[in-house]
Symmetry: D3
Subunit: 319 residues, 6 copies
């Protein structure tokens, strides 16, 4: 019988040495991490599932723009109801996985955990109409604030700031409902797509507009009022991290700015620490600010140094 | 008969309350937007289709690098012809959808709209050889301008600036042909992938090179000459937005910089307003510039403040 | 016979003029590039393959977080061995393609090239345990350095800096093994996903932490010590590019900063040229630095200019 | 500049001679089919779309078995409504394409055609509850008629006869509504999956059960009563095709059997022509029958010829 | 603000009447099936999962033909181990779902059910080497029995009989381990692909060869010895179904043929009832046999009736 | 540091015993097949690639029906040329793999093998116009021969006989060009989809029509003339297989029927051995024929036995 079912050819000069690498990697895992998974956690939240959840929620909130453009008055509620249901079911499962990482659920039974996750997902579902109202205010702020904006459709389809805020407003609700890991996951997906990095803990009022957005960073305890506008590369960060007596960083204390209503912060401005930017202030581009300013302030950068072509200043580049 | 085709189980303690959420979302849509889609627009441009169009055009322009590397002299024209045809057909459809958003086409018949879209797509097709020539000049500029560049293939495959300029040069042609929504869409796709945000209205001469690129913003009415080089986080923006007597922002007026030939702008520089950077000037990194400079200028930032380790300056961070 | 197999309809008013565009594009290819592919290279490295390679390596290094969360003690080595093998085989092929671009392999026989590629892939495989150890140190640095970090899983799933460093440490190994094109490809994929742009040639010590990360640029010849921390938009770049007598840029010389152990560099700082930042120094946000500083230095930016609401400073934006 | 953007290599010894083949194929198309598409039909029904339509309808009819097993009493109507709507929309489009092939719609305007297609799709939608009732009777017949059947779920998931009847009952409704091409398409998809070939014109009463099914053929004008059971390889075919004076086959006349209520037809039986099988008859396996039989008949095959091992009968095989 | 976020247009003349259809379908579900899912079964076995399981097992059994052709001696065991593990895990889950349909598991706790499913899957895993040996004997029988067979690879890739027997031998093992629903599912997948319909309960000895195969049916209680060969359209079926006093079909009794060693059954032969075909017999094509025959028998069909062209016999067809 | 990177949990009661199964499977491979792959063949033809090749050829032959319905006179040749080229390239590779299985190429160098494969693929390409002409004759025969056929489009999209003949005519050309393994592969793909099993060696004249088709088997050395029509379940098979003195089956000799022009063979007829069916003959359904018949013959089956309802004949079924 020609061509028997033979084993694969053995040619030592073309071996990878797999057994050795596998053993070394095993040793590396064991040496560095002598303990097991705490509680035997084997079910991690899934990035793919989280992406589908956010897309599903976006479709349920704005069905004709993100769902199916040819929905009719007759069909739209079926679409919304079905999309919501299948999305909330996915969310329930991911919440369940994420809760297990919290100390208070480490010892919970599977049934208790699932039940708690269901309650959270249901409560989250009921917050969606209010979240939608906030997002509509953000979209209107973009239309008002950008002279290049032509119509709502352009804003919904093309504005990275609106994309990022959709992620944030959903993530913030989950953060408040006690699922920080999932919330963080949602915002990192927007960060990767837009370059806008908002911590899900940040509190942001209605009618918020981020233009361009690449490089924006907003920290965990930041509080932003109504009708605030920020441009690309703006940082609302922490100034320093106090450590406790044990040398470990103190977590969770208020360490990011408070920005009051109607403030505008131009591109590249960096505001650090628990300072307050009074309402109606304008912070100029590239400004570095680590103290509070009163309402109605105007803050801008100092002058640049110029020379003629003959000079050879440091023509620094980043390459 | 065991296992009848029974309806799904009803367990009220595991209900989402979907009917309520669906009703609230419907109310939210109706309350905020009492009017219908203007003109009953139900066909929005599709992001997926636009991604396929740009990929198709890139393949037709550079068939061996982005299309099929094993094309031969015998097969390449079949490939280009077929790719062009199917891509232009997709483009025709997306242009048709986008035109409906323009006031001048709101009342057009379907046939007129489709005919106009076809003319635009055809005209766009005939501009492709010229667009290709511009892109070749950009690629050559990257090779000349970056000491790390090894060969053309590396530039075509690995340089985000070239990727963004391919999107821009295609989008700019569509913008000039009267399809701003589609053009914007194309550039936002590049913005998400590269962090480079160029408005499709910007006019950019040949041999333009963007290095690294993250955070670059170039505004709608910017005009850039030949052989200009910019680095990451450079902004060519507007200084302020005048409002008309009615308080509404004036749209479309020239409000972004003019950059003449052979200018270099280093990382983080911010140039704002309808100022002119004279030919051959060098703008240093992180500079903040809101007035014109003559040809051959050198502009750089002021000095920093330094302290020894004993001091404790604000160690501001963005976290 | 109704409905014959007829040729497509001919309607000149709906023709694209394909033949003309195809001919113009052919002329454009021929005019600008009169030579052939050097050496008839037709096999380019494939972005899709490189993405799969990096994902495969990440799964082999951290099987329960990036591979299959439900692996057990019984199955994990099978998983790692199989994943490694199929990934190294893919890598072998991509290395083979990439080597052909190097001058020293232009004349190699196919067999020699494939053999050399195999040796490199095998050597790379044997470096994976050491690479894993470096990445574990980076993950621990993130946990230590960020007050918001909750646990290792959050860091592995949600921290763009860790994502980028995984790409970099793999790419750097390939760069040192003589496959710069593939290394560059790997880091550009991370650049697109995270906004962090590290040249694969950069040398980075253990326990490196990048927070937020958007806009970070680290140049080819940078050298970074142990336990260094950098924030978003930090540039470690070159100051200028010396050209040789022939006017061509000199390639490969040391032109980026040396950062010693335990340095922290805050957001937006730009450090340019072959300067040394002494160990333990803290470089403040937005600082522009083009000279060396001794160990223990504290460097920060100058003061801003402030006005009251009545003034009208340049409210520059980037739009 | 190394590695120019060169055209693909030209190596005549590796050419396919594409231009010649393309020209010959064009000549073949033109020679054989000198006319154009009648009416310029360019939109053919799409197999992929028809597959999606049938799957969608199956899911709407049996949502927990073919749709989403975890539907609840709360969510099932949203699911059914949304699935129906998107499926009917797809169907509308495919009906529109199929109608154009009918002589009576060759001259219709696009709007008329679309309107007629909508009416048909809507009427079809309203027939679905009745179609479901028929299918439930078929499923119950399978449970009653097969001693191996365990429960309804097994029948819905594993019985090719039920699969084929689902296609047939949907196709038959479309056939009667005047869309024969689409109906035929639907049944051929089931034919390929099950080996059961039912012409969509065949009229089949409730509680019909096909066991095994491979090779079953049921012709266009067959009429089958209630509670009929057939096994694999049964043919209900035509005996001969009368031609008219012009030598062309006469189309559409009644030429297939009538099978009355409660008949059983065993494997391989072939019944041909417009004969009637009286109610309650049993037709044995492999029988060849071309005349009518009265109610209550039993028909079986003649005897076989047997020999001992010494003989050598024709050991015919099909190889 | 132009282009508000309006609700979809309402045009009654283009409504489907969805609400009515949805209500009618709900009524249809409720009327016919007044009871709920027994035990609230909501998790059905998944066809997609079963397909993946069979493919995984096939790859583990014949790794170089169905898995990855370029496996080497170094890598094959990693491949087999990893493939087995992920496949058995999938199988565990599907067994768990299928067991719930059996009366003896209706009241089991989830944990008990999962534990039992695990035991079955593990036992099944340990039977794989023996199953492989049987399949190798079938492959060798195909090579010996078909004069057209060129080599083992052709048989593994192109012989539907080998494909069907792979499904059957796996399904039979599951059937014996008490998972009939899953077993049935597996064989129906092969039935659809090959037209060969073997009930998973059938007992088939080694070195079994089915040539061509379309239309073969082998019943639940058939017993087939060693080195048996059958051709297309052979049926090993039941003759009649006795009903009990209650009129319900008696299930599970022996009602299909016993075929002893070294029997050949040619195309189209139909053997019915609990008869025995003695070893070494040859059953001719199209034979209809309902009684036992002794070892060494030769059975063939009677003569045909022939006429000259002038006659007009029934030229029956199936159309 | 909570949640260390721990190794997967070890729980012996949930182990599969993988190591044992893997070892047993290895032993099974080694015991039964002590030799290696002959010649170290590791590259098998790929089913997926063959499917793509046939689809590509079908699209090139009938571009508006199987390729892209909206092709225009301007674009069709680009489409055909591009499709041909990419398909022939795939075919080249698969031919190369298949040739290695032939004894005469076992010792060939890789370059020789590839060169020969290229020649075959090129020659095959040049036969495509002639193959298309044959297929057009088959399509016309279907239109003429089936009273239910409405138009060419229905035949191209819905007739399994045309689908199978497309595969056969392509496979037969490859068979004659010396690539039997690939040819067999192509026909088995059609066999699975249609239930029609034609050996690629069979010689079939123009205008051949298979109606319904399930269960048709046509053997390797069959010769079929012009304008022949066959129905479902027709077998043109071998009668017996002579063995040589060594007991091994003689391969390749003429052992299947010759069917002359204008013959019709009705459903279920079985014709075996190297007999000749004279031109113009009609073979009735279910006939069993093992001798030649002169031109113009009419052959039909004997009579059936009938009884009244009171009798209880063997109501044999296949279940």
């Amino acid at each position: 019988m020609p061509n028997k079912l033979s084993p694969p050819a053995h040619d030592p000069s073309h071996e990878w040495g797999l057994a050795g690498i596998v053993a070394d990697l095993r040793a590396s895992r064991e040496e560095l991490h002598r303990t097991r998974h705490p509680l035997g956690i084997r079910e991690l939240p899934s990035r793919e599932a989280v992406v589908r959840i956010v897309n599903g929620l976006r479709s349920a909130l704005f069905p004709t723009h993100y769902g199916a453009p040819d929905l009719t008055a007759e069909s739209v509620d079926y679409y919304v109801g079905h999309t919501l249901e299948s999305t909330l079911r996915l969310l329930h499962e991911q919440i369940r996985r994420a809760l297990r990482f919290l100390p208070e659920y480490r010892e919970s039974s599977d049934a208790d955990l699932s039940g708690r996750a269901f309650e959270i997902a249901r409560e989250f579902g009921h917050q969606l109409p209010a979240i939608r109202a906030l997002l509509v205010s953000d979209i209107q702020a973009a239309f008002t604030g950008d002279p290049a904006a032509q119509h709502i459709t352009e804003i919904l389809l093309c504005y990275p700031g609106v994309w990022a805020m959709t992620h944030h407003r959903l993530a913030h609700a989950l953060h408040r409902l006690g699922v920080p890991l999932l919330a963080r996951f949602i915002n990192e997906i927007a960060h990767s797509a837009t370059g806008i990095d908002i911590h899900p803990g940040a509190t942001i009022g209605p009618s918020f507009f981020i233009d361009h957005g690449t490089g924006v960073v907003i920290g965990e305890t930041a509080i932003i009022g109504e009708r605030v506008r920020v441009y690309q590369a703006v940082t609302l960060g922490a100034k320093s991290f106090p450590a406790g007596n044990d040398g470990v960083l103190v977590k969770g204390n208020a360490r990011h700015p408070v920005v009051e209503d109607d403030v505008v912060i131009y591109a590249g401005a960096t505001i650090l620490g628990r300072v307050t930017i009074g309402h109606g202030s304008v912070i100029g581009g590239n400004v570095w600010l680590t103290h509070s300013v009163p309402p109605g302030s105007n803050v801008s950068q100092g002058k640049v140094r110029e020379g003629s072509g003959g000079e050879a200043p440091d023509d620094g580049r980043g390459g």
